[in-house]
Symmetry: C3
Subunit: 342 residues, 3 copies
């Protein structure tokens, strides 16, 4: 079986709620292991690492990629991931009797080697509530707790993004990223965007953040991103213009996200958000705008809202890394499941 090095061993038992939970050396070791797992996918080095172990996946929100990749990850490591939908759980809330998070987390820790939670969009009543829930589980659980995407962060997406960029550029330090809002019909949570801003800036990329007025992200995340860029001697700029951010960048990440006013009275105003968003038809990543870049690659966490967030020509073009990054989800998840749970 694989021998972990000292930094890797330090990850045993750790919660992964954001890449902020990992030091930079730890991120590098995780990505190094993920790349080894990609090259040697079914090698006996890795296939028994979590033999007979159980990972519990709680999907408050449905998912395609996240469910498939986590369940496949556990299968490939010799264990098993249970697919659980909390509609069939009896958790205590203010309004209804049920089990406390403490009792629930304590018992799960007896059965499983780790717990993953996905909660965002319409399953919360305001931004931050999903983050609260995951941290409550982490407080009481005796095993690692993972975010499989929540309102605030999406650590495995952030790691998969960086892994894809490293595969393409070798070194991401000094590379220029445009993170641009796009119009779209899905009113998406901020998690993938914010995770990418944090990890990209920490690892030394410069960042253009572009969005229409009224689509500001979490101030705390923006402040951190700015600080990381400064520490690395890189630029961090915010623009409300649709094309300006494309100039000379190496990477374009174009995606729709909801406005800070998306939740009213505890309910996600999805239709209203979509209607508002769909007016900004110029906010799409297309071949014309890509010409301003330094032959940039296109990245996106998928599912892609083609025709709104990005043109087919760019999404399916030779510089698109979307499938490679989607595959990387599997490998970074395998790496961190192995490191935290074995």
């Amino acid at each position: 079986m694989f021998q972990f090095n000292t930094i890797q061993k330090g990850l045993k038992g750790r919660n992964i709620i954001s890449t902020e939970d990992l030091s930079i050396p730890e991120i590098k070791e995780v990505l190094s292991l993920a790349k080894d797992m990609k090259r040697n996918r079914f090698s006996s080095k890795f296939t028994d690492v979590l033999k007979h172990k159980t990972f519990l996946m709680f999907f408050y929100n449905p998912s395609v990629r996240t469910r498939q990749s986590f369940e496949a990850a556990m299968t490939e490591l010799g264990g098993h991931a249970q697919f659980l939908e909390p509609k069939s759980m009896r958790l205590k809330t203010e309004k209804s009797a049920g089990e406390t998070i403490e009792d629930s987390a304590k018992v799960m820790s007896r059965y499983a080697a780790g717990i993953g939670i996905r909660i965002l969009e319409d399953k919360i009543t305001k931004y931050g509530e999903g983050d609260w829930l995951i941290r409550e589980y982490a407080k009481f659980a005796d095993v690692p707790v993972f975010s499989m995407a929540h309102d605030k962060f999406h650590p495995f997406q952030g790691l998969a993004d960086i892994m894809g960029l490293q595969e393409y550029f070798d070194e991401v330090k000094g590379k220029k990223l445009l993170m641009t809002w796009a119009h779209g019909a899905l009113a998406r949570s901020w998690c993938s965007i914010q995770e990418n801003l944090l990890i990209s800036s920490r690892l030394g990329m410069s960042i253009n953040l572009a969005h229409p007025e009224g689509y500001e992200l979490d101030k705390e995340v923006i402040e951190k991103t700015k600080k990381y860029c400064e520490e690395n001697g890189q630029e961090f700029k915010i623009t409300n213009e649709v094309e300006k951010g494309y100039n000379n960048v190496n990477v374009v990440y174009s995606r729709n996200w909801m406005s800070p006013n998306a939740y009213k009275n505890g309910i996600l105003q999805k239709e209203l958000e979509i209607k508002k968003s769909m007016k900004y038809t110029k906010w799409i990543c297309d071949s014309r705008k890509m010409k301003y870049t330094d032959n940039a690659v296109f990245i996106h966490p998928m599912p892609v809202d083609r025709g709104n967030e990005v043109s087919d020509e760019v999404a399916s073009g030779k510089n698109s890394l979307i499938y490679e990054i989607a595959e990387n989800r599997l490998h970074v998840q395998k790496a961190l499941l192995a490191l935290t749970m074995c």
Copy 2:
């Protein structure tokens, strides 16, 4: 581990949407392997063939046998089948934003060794739509795509039928099959019936097809069946009389199916179909009719609508092969999962 022969090796990577996707020598090799797997069910020859591999099962329609047998098949081959219900998927349609089949299939191919799809009855708006969906997935996926029953075909049922008949008769060539419509309360799709007609005729059986006027099947399938019978020097007859087809046959397959007019304005008229069907109370396979046969065996893909499609006496009689054929589903699926994905 098991060594495949040349014909068997040729199946690697292949889609199985109908038994028409297999040559006759390939069908024979699949059935030969399935029988070996039945005799040596948990032999180490087979239990590691798909070790750590993932098969994704998309159930647009619910299922008992198909889900249980595919999931058990993957467990017995050392891998794992993920149970996915597309209600929790975000696929792009004309009316709603979502992921394209291309993106979905491309990403799944990164996680899994194969993809199975079940879509029929009320999950489609007209006959042929399920067939279209599966073929779209097959077009874009880089891994094998299987039909786990769709509106048009049901390849694994067809193979299990033939395997059951071979176990009983040794050789099916020259045997006479009555495929008869029956009244019933479930308004079933044509897939099992049509798959059986195609594979039975290809393998040299003669066929009596019996149904009331107004219950005609897919013309293309009927033409092919007729052609296969002719090529094999066998008879193919269609009758609208309820008893005539029983004369001297070796096999009776009695099952309800919907009429060609079952879909109106994109909606399956299930209640109407059932009401119409239930008037034909004479269309049931019972002991009296079985006396006209050459001591025929009774086959059916299950679930059996007892009292409508067939009498208890026949379904539970000594000549009933229903449980044996149901079990064979497991073995033919194991054989083809192994051959296409390993």
Copy 3:
């Protein structure tokens, strides 16, 4: 692989619908194996016992602990548990066409090494119906059938309770148990309570049963419990007073259950039951009442309705065995899955 002794070997193929299906020597052997499995959880002695085998779990009612612990149990024994929800089954009922239990059970026996069923509360129309359904499956299945909790019994909870008490007291014979009703907002089935009464009395505990008038349990179970107590020279008392039963006991089990009038016209009157129950605010296990005991331990099958069934102070106190017993579910299930199915 582990060598079973003669008594253990006798369990092969057996149904487990209640602990009444096991002799006292068999119960002791099951618990002995469960303790060994707890001490040596991932030992290679046990991890291949059910390699490549499938256990089918039918959840008519949702569940947290039961699903997680059975699925983890199969993973730890080398096999796989399929999570099935009968909403997606087509079983025959008086009103609708579908498959008979006979056909369903016969086919499942071809695919799986065992079948588990959970059915209680709102999924039945009257007390006893779940018990009937499980026994019907057991009649036709060729593989072991397990109750994963039904209206009448909950064998694995009863075994986990006793295992927890044995771990604490070493010997349960002669220990005094208070089984007390509590008010609560969940209108629970009688299964855990009744199973505990039967197995505790059989193994030689004396029993105080306390509940308000109108919360009587199944007469047959009470008669048996009384008989077992008598046979063991122990006391069995029933009281309608809230505090009296606490005097000098070693174990307190406090839990809400529904009244014998909970079902009206085939429907569980859940709101009415909760309303009625919530008037008995004195019926809660708290520190004040625990002082009357002989430093008793607190047990409960979970989920705990804190603040109604028991105070936080007791549930989370040093004498609470709730998490330990919850964990024991896993081990007794592993033991009996292994013994009956391998």
